[in-house]
Symmetry: C2
Subunit: 190 residues, 2 copies
DNA sequence: TATATACTTGAGTGATCACTCAAGAAACCC
DNA sequence: GGGTTTCTTGAGTGATCACTCAAGTATATA
């Protein structure tokens, strides 16, 4: 009986993610979304419920894409090489809506208001860090790096370096590629 | 002949800075400012001209306070010790409106819209980096660190680490103090 | 004290915010 | 093709946005 929606939901979420990623939560209005997604308000609210609900879907998609990129890298390289290549990869994509991490942008924008989406972003950041910790542990098991520091501590620092790199990449007049190289080189010394 | 304004302009700018720092540009409404500064719209606009104009004053105040803190540290310690203590200092102030850097928050929030304030923030970040470069050069001259890397490259990386640290400090469940210690320790190895 | 000169007040501006809903259009089953 | 169900449309909701301005008030000089 029902009529099918004439849009690809996953594609809409991706486009919304890119818009939110670039412009942020407050910087993206419903009008912007309607224009980008080619949806009238009624369809939009029938499909997603609210701006916040779509933002959360966008965050989820962002986080899982990031995790997938890391796993793809891991499939081709060892754990250390994966960790070394990842920084240059995240700032190297010219098609990306922004260099900075969407999770950190969301956290910085919404944390002070205690907006629920800030905590969602925080959780995904913790998830990424856990992935990094796994890779560091694997690198230690493979003998690629020493066991002088715990995988958790290494991941914490790596995540921090990555966040700094990605903020730096957003700046004008800063050679972020050089910073990415230094991060990669720093891992060799472990 | 004129009547004096019954407020302390510098104090108002400081309070506005704290509000903008915590909540961001879009997250701070005129109503918020009126409440915090105890000013009616007419007085506000007579005194500052616009929300953006006050935000710019707040950024300037933020940047010069940061520069002052660095100089104060430098007056008591050598260049290397100054660079080593600064990270723990910026995240250690419990009274600060936020752990993250106001300049980077502004950049991330407004860069995509090409808002003029994003470029202002970018310039102040470059100014901070120049200060760091000076300190690295002094540390090299004093023989505290090697000349293997240029002061500019060292400052670029240090700034990036600092930005990452301050984003990390905004997160829940992350021991930012430990990261600050690692940054300080990393400088010894230069 | 008279007057000039600000500063302060607060209701009000049009624009935009996220969001709603009734009505019409399209696709499915029978 | 009839009937049901969902999707789409787009004008419209009240709230809030940054900002204005005329009227009132306080303080300075003369």
């Amino acid at each position: 009986m029902p009529r099918k929606p004439n849009f690809d939901r996953e594609d809409l979420i991706k486009r919304a993610r890119d818009l939110f990623w670039r412009r942020g939560w407050a910087g993206t209005s419903l009008k912007d979304l309607e224009a980008e997604l080619q949806m009238k308000p009624g369809s939009f609210y029938a499909a997603f419920g609210s701006k916040d609900a779509l933002f959360e879907l966008a965050l989820k998609r962002y986080a899982s894409d990031g995790a997938d990129r890391l796993k793809t890298l891991r499939a081709e390289h060892g754990p250390l090489k994966t960790l070394q290549r990842f920084p240059a990869m995240v700032i190297g994509n010219e098609d990306a809506p922004a260099k900075a991490c969407m999770l950190s942008k969301t956290l910085l924008e919404l944390q002070a208001r205690k907006h629920p989406l800030a905590e969602v972003a925080n959780q995904y950041l913790l998830g990424m860090e856990a992935q990094f910790a796994d890779l560091f542990e694997q690198a230690q098991s493979a003998g690629e790096i020493s066991r002088a520091q715990s995988p958790g501590a290494l991941a914490r620092r790596y995540q921090s370096d990555l966040l700094g790199l990605r903020v730096s990449a957003e700046r004008n007049g800063v050679d972020a590629g050089a910073i990415a190289d230094e991060i990669a080189k720093g891992l060799e010394a472990l």
